[in-house]
Amino acid sequence: MNNPPVVISEMLNSYNTLKRTVRRIPQKEEVSFVIRKYVETMDKISIFVGKAFSFLIIPIVILQAGEALLRYVFDSPTIWSWEVAMLLYGAHFIVGAAWVMTYEGHVRTDMLYAKFSAKTQQLLELILFPLIFFPFVSVLLWKCTVNTLYSISIRETTFTQWAPPFYPLKVVITFAFLLLLFQGIAKWLRVFVLFTKGEEI
């Protein structure tokens, strides 16, 4: 192919690089080592976990396509295939939120936002994250933890006759909120440092 296809993720990456370059402000002084280290480590963890869980799509394909084959061709469907696929689907997307946050992939309306100055944008983030995001994620983390511990204590299963354990998925969900909380803190610190000291992390 002479013209390589416009790959969405490439567009996404180049856009983010561009955005960062534009926003880069000359460094005045080095940020405290701990914050920089924390932010960079969280980014790495979130991306790594997201990438690791992204391979769950493979067993989902195998289970669902295999089930169609087993039933239609061999007349021997399973009672568990769709349920395993469903539990994997839940684990798949839920942990991805932190990764999506590392590259600002959670959709926002930029109609007014884009017209604000960089300083105003940063200030808005610094105010709105503690008002909206942190209460949400903290409450969910707290409630999911309580529920998951109970679920483990009674070895909760799903309601189907096959009745696989349900608590592993609940553990994954709780972990997803934990990761999202830590990534949210990293994101806030990043904006904070940019706002106060004008330094990019």
């Binding site: 969405i8 992204s54 396509a65 239609y72 309306t109 909206i132 409630k143």
Partner: protein, 439 residues
């Protein structure tokens, strides 16, 4: 504080913070938490949020979302999608707006395989959009076509929205599916006419291939292109469809078969390698997460909205609008769009069906007919700014296009949806032709 006041505060705060640019998911979830704490009157309400997460992760009809996105990613990253649309561009290249037309037709076909908006828009955003933008289609036309045509799947059966509508209102799902078919084809036809006519009036919107470039390819070369680049990928799409219609697969399984087919096509084109496969997995995860988290948080917001009495506030608005049945119907339709500005489609169904169906039936409208009109309104609501789920899903694929532009892009398509609804009011047979012929 009265329920009406609470609901108005909720709407105002929601839209203000949205315009200030906080991410949609956190607004839906965060405002749910905040309004729950302050207005529910019982902190136990906070358990509603975990239950909403557990509900979405165990909704098996959503499993097709990551699968269709994966299929799209595989076709995109292996270059198969680009081959398909590039060839269509060359072969039908003299037709102005040809690629947009192909997008509508292929979306309508895909709509027969998937009934969930997030899935269809994502796949068309991966398959058709890059090629349209590459060939200098006007951004608003290209994006608008993908968003509007990508929403057709909820109307063209099978559709999860229609299944839920049928169970909420005790109507035959078979008849709703038959009715949705007529309206879906009508809407697809209106979109097709629009993209072609617009491109003829303003050729810069959907530029055709130049005469010289078209003449570079002989008829034989064009035929070969169809055989090599169009037939395999298009057959895959038809195979996915066919597997549902033939009874070989459920919609979830069909989407998984689609992924297998996409891999086979990539292998045939000799573009299949570990890097491309890995990248497809990664981009599937990123897109699915972005879309599903909106759905999770919207589910939370909807529960809080209903619990705080939002449904009753809407019911009060229908009271006292007069006696004329068309006036009452219009008010209901406007309220549905207003609800769609705040809630996801499921929320609109959950509140709208119990509120409006008794009124509509008492006015003498046919239940199946109204079910389809209702579903058409849901199509309008997913496109209508500022809270337009189709636009938000789309934005994830085109972060460089400002959302204001996407809002403008949907306006003409919303107008066409309204035209379709008016046509269905004047000629109810568009919807009722098939259902009336069932037994």
């Amino acid at each position: 504080m009265s329920t009406t006041t609470i609901v108005i505060i909720m709407m105002v705060v929601f839209i203000s913070i949205l315009l200030l640019g906080h991410p949609l998911s956190w607004i839906l979830g965060g405002l749910g938490v905040i309004f729950g704490v302050f207005f529910w009157g019982d902190l136990n309400v906070l358990n509603i949020f975990t239950r909403a997460v557990y509900k979405v992760v165990t909704t098996s009809s959503y499993v097709c979302i990551p699968l269709f996105i994966f299929m799209g990613a595989l076709l995109e990253k292996s270059g198969s999608a680009d081959k398909l649309f590039d060839s269509l561009y060359i072969v039908f290249g003299r037709l102005k707006g040809g690629l947009a037309l192909a997008t509508v037709v292929i979306s309508a076909l895909m709509g027969a395989a998937t009934g969930i908006i997030g899935a269809s828009i994502s796949i068309m955003a991966m398959l058709a959009l890059p090629t349209m933008l590459k060939h200098r289609y006007e951004e608003k036309l290209a994006c608008g076509t993908v968003m509007a045509a990508g929403s057709l799947g909820t109307l063209i059966p099978p559709s999860v929205i229609l299944v839920i509508y049928g169970s909420l209102s005790n109507l035959s799902i078979a008849k709703l599916f038959a009715g949705g078919m007529g309206a879906g084809i009508c809407l697809a036809a209106i979109y097709s006419i629009y993209v072609v006519v617009l491109s003829y009036i303003k050729p810069s919107y959907g530029p055709p291939i130049s005469k010289e470039e078209s003449q570079k390819y002989s008829a034989g070369q064009k035929a070969a292109m169809i055989l090599v680049s169009v037939v395999p990928t298009l057959s895959l799409i038809l195979l996915v469809l066919g597997s549902i219609l033939l009874g070989a697969a459920t919609p979830n399984e069909a989407s998984a078969l689609g992924c297998v087919g996409a891999m086979i096509i990539a292998i045939m084109y000799k573009n299949f390698n570990w890097k491309m496969f890995k990248e497809s997995c990664f981009s599937t995860m990123k897109t699915t997460s972005m879309i599903m988290w909106i759905i999770v948080c919207a589910t939370m917001f909807t529960s809080i909205f209903i619990g705080l009495g939002g449904d009753k506030v809407i019911a009060d608005m229908v009271v006292g609008v007069g006696e004329n049945k068309w006036v009452i119907l219009s008010v209901i339709l406007v309220l549905l769009v207003a609800m769609g500005m705040l809630l996801d489609s499921y929320g609109v169904l959950l509140i709208g069906v119990p509120l409006f169906t008794p009124i509509v039936y008492s006015l003498g409208f046919d239940p199946i007919w109204f079910g389809i009109i209702f579903t058409l309104m849901i199509q309008v609501s997913v496109l209508s700014p500022p809270v337009a789920y189709a636009v938000f899903y789309m934005k994830g694929f085109v972060p460089h296009i400002p959302i204001g532009k996407l809002y403008w892009a949907v306006i003409p398509f919303m107008a066409m949806q309204i035209i379709c609804i008016i046509l269905c009011c004047i000629f109810p047979d568009i919807i009722m032709f098939l259902p009336n012929r069932m037994q």
